[in-house]
């Protein structure tokens, strides 16, 4: 029983990182209405960049975002201008075709550069675990969850209190009205896309402190983050965090009560049920 509670807590802590990943997706989808099927592969790419920075300059995984965050930000802006901007006036199907193409491209590149075998960083300074009433909690999970929450709060502050952040939110509410008040939509969109992908760099760094990476990881992270987004609904950042925790905890519960292979099955089931019964999510605005 204790192990089940323990696993669930660790899963829920992992869910905070999921929420961080989903926050990036939610900015991209919520603001620009761009369907990015490659978001999970952005996470995969970030994890590989983390691996690179970590091995080349022997950075600790948690410190790598100092390099990978700006890198992924630039990558996002580049991807926006080259790929996404041209699809904004097309049907959503074209957008999906382009981002699925990007997904294939990223996976192929990862395979070319880093080969198919899993990669991991040797060690992280965050090690060990501690006991709370007979339950062991991994320190790495706790700290990464804390960092995720702080980062989410930071983004919340950015979106509500700073001018570029408020421009992003204005554009997501009403693009035409925002344009009239002097918001440059292209730059705002590029900023949103850059921010969305930069957040995966942060998540990638945190994930790499206790996990390995392989080229096929993107699929799971992509689907998971869409599940969390569906569960949370658009527009609520605290809701995102709660949904992330629910998804992470459910994954861990499924693994310890049923079968490790079934990891995401219940999450997908919840996803489909939410789509049927509550399309705007648990916390979303209309």
């Amino acid at each position: 029983m204790d192990t089940i509670i323990q696993n669930t807590i660790n899963g829920a802590l992992m869910g905070c990182i999921y929420a961080l990943i989903t926050l990036g997706l939610s900015i991209i989808y919520g603001v620009m209405n761009v369907v990015n099927f490659a978001h999970g592969d952005f996470v995969m790419l970030s994890m590989y960049f983390t691996f690179w920075v970590g091995t080349l300059w022997s950075f600790d995984a948690v410190a790598t975002p100092a390099v990978t965050f700006p890198l992924l930000f630039l990558f996002g802006i580049f991807a926006y201008y080259v790929l996404i901007d041209g699809t904004l006036r097309q049907k959503y199907v074209t957008q999906i075709a382009v981002t699925v193409g990007l997904q294939t491209l990223l996976r192929a590149l990862a395979q070319m550069i880093w080969k198919a075998q899993p990669r991991a960083l040797p060690y992280s300074i965050i090690q060990g675990n501690f006991q709370v009433g007979g339950i062991t909690i991994m320190l790495s999970r706790l700290i990464t969850a804390a960092v995720s929450i702080v980062a989410i709060a930071g983004v919340y502050f950015f979106l509500t209190k700073t001018w570029p952040g408020r421009a992003i939110r204005a554009a997501s509410d009403d693009l035409d009205a925002a344009s009239l008040t002097g918001v440059n939509y292209k730059r705002t969109y590029a900023l949103a896309f850059g921010l969305g992908s930069a957040l995966t760099a942060l998540a990638g760094g945190l994930l790499m402190s206790f996990q390995q990476v392989d080229p096929t990881m993107g699929l799971r992270f992509g689907l998971l983050s869409w599940c969390i987004l569906a569960l949370a609904g658009l527009g609520s950042i605290p809701g995102l965090l709660i949904s992330g925790v629910i998804v992470g905890g459910t994954e861990a519960l499924t693994m310890s009560l049923w079968d490790p292979r079934a990891r995401s099955l219940i999450v997908y089931l919840i996803f489909v049920l939410v789509l049927w019964l509550r399309p705007r999510g648990l916390f979303g605005r209309k």
């Binding site: 097309q90 959503y92 999906i96 990007l102 491209l105 099955l265 789509l275 399309p279």
Partner: protein, 342 residues
């Protein structure tokens, strides 16, 4: 003039069919080339079937792998357990896939799940089935299950060469194309095109969106499921990885870059792109793992960006131009380049 145009069209189609029928005679000796054309045909069947729900109906279905896997497992298990011929097995497989599609489609369409959410839930479906079949030891299990080995047997659909599979898949492709043409000229087809253009508007005009989408999904699932039965025999085993999300997305992508709703669009895309991909794999695959896929992905992105209507529109335009050149002296108004179907 019209009849002349029709004669040209028919003779072109017949000539094309003759060439396709003769392909194995020309390539039959070379195993690699036969594998290649058979793969192209398989993707052709999948993408052409996808055109019914995706191209016409505008529903971005990413679950081709689910129906393919269900068909493969049904045909394979029937053969392994009860020695039922895959000829029957592929029909049953198609029916199982259809039943499953109905089971999934009814609530999805009832609750109005559409666009990206439909795409994502269908994509999740493939993953769910893959894991379930991995865990279901009686039928699946994590390792492959080999179908009974025979050097050559019509009953067991086992052959020493790929030529019979080529003809079986070709027949399926023709059936899929025929269904596409029939549907695109039927009421269901017009409703689907309307849904694909604008779902809300179509519903306001009285299109029963739920019923139309469900019927399209079931027809598509049947074709893909039946192809799954052939797929199992082609490889000689069944494996949970048949529920492949890569294959599912590729099917949809071929349908999109081929040209949504153009009958021969997905086929054109399958012929050009799958053979191009295999060519890349053969020429680049040895040097650097993944390079061929990267090049392939770039091509897909370029097509989607610069020809969002699909590559089949190149052919349609060329055909229209050639037709109008033929009759510059005749009436000008009879040329319609965008007649639905070929």
């Amino acid at each position: 003039m019209r009849s002349k145009q029709r004669t040209i069209k028919t003779s072109l189609l017949l000539a094309g069919l003759a060439i396709v029928l003769l392909v194995p005679l020309l390539l039959g000796r070379n195993q690699y080339h036969m594998v290649l054309v058979t793969t192209v045909l398989l993707y052709g069947v999948l993408a052409t079937a996808w055109n019914i729900i995706g191209g016409m109906g505008g529903q971005l279905d990413l679950a081709a792998g689910a129906y393919l896997g269900l068909g493969a497992y049904t045909a394979g298990t029937l053969l392994l357990r009860w020695n039922v011929s895959p000829w029957l097995g592929m029909i049953v497989g198609g029916l199982v896939a259809t039943g499953f599609a109905m089971l999934v489609g009814l609530p999805l369409f009832r609750f109005g799940v559409k666009e990206v959410w439909y795409a994502l839930s269908s994509s999740a479906l493939v993953e769910v089935l893959r894991v379930l079949f991995q865990m279901w030891e009686e039928v699946g299990g994590p390792t492959e299950r080999y179908l009974p080995y025979h050097v050559s047997s019509w009953y067991h659909l086992r052959f020493a060469s790929y030529v019979p599979f080529y003809y079986i898949l070709l027949a399926m492709l023709l059936i899929a194309l025929f269904l596409n043409v029939r549907i695109s000229r039927s009421k269901l087809g017009y409703y689907l095109f309307a849904l694909g253009e604008n779902e809300d508007a179509a519903e306001v005009l009285g299109v029963d969106a739920r019923a139309c989408k469900l019927r399209a999904l079931m027809i598509y699932a049947f074709l893909v499921g039946a192809a799954g039965g052939v797929y199992a025999c082609l490889y000689g085993f069944i494996h949970p990885n048949f529920f492949s999300s890569a294959m599912s997305t590729e099917t949809a992508i071929l349908g999109i870059v081929g040209g949504m709703g153009i009958t021969y669009g997905p086929l054109v895309a399958a012929v050009l792109l799958v053979s191009f991909r295999e060519f890349l794999r053969a020429s680049l695959g040895g040097q650097l793992e993944g390079l061929y896929l990267a090049v392939y992905a770039v091509i897909l992105i370029l097509i989607a960006l610069f020809r969002p209507q699909g590559i089949a529109t190149f052919i349609r335009d060329a055909y229209g131009k050639a037709m109008s050149r033929l009759q510059v002296t005749g009436e000008k108004d009879v040329v319609s380049a965008d007649s639905p179907g070929l």
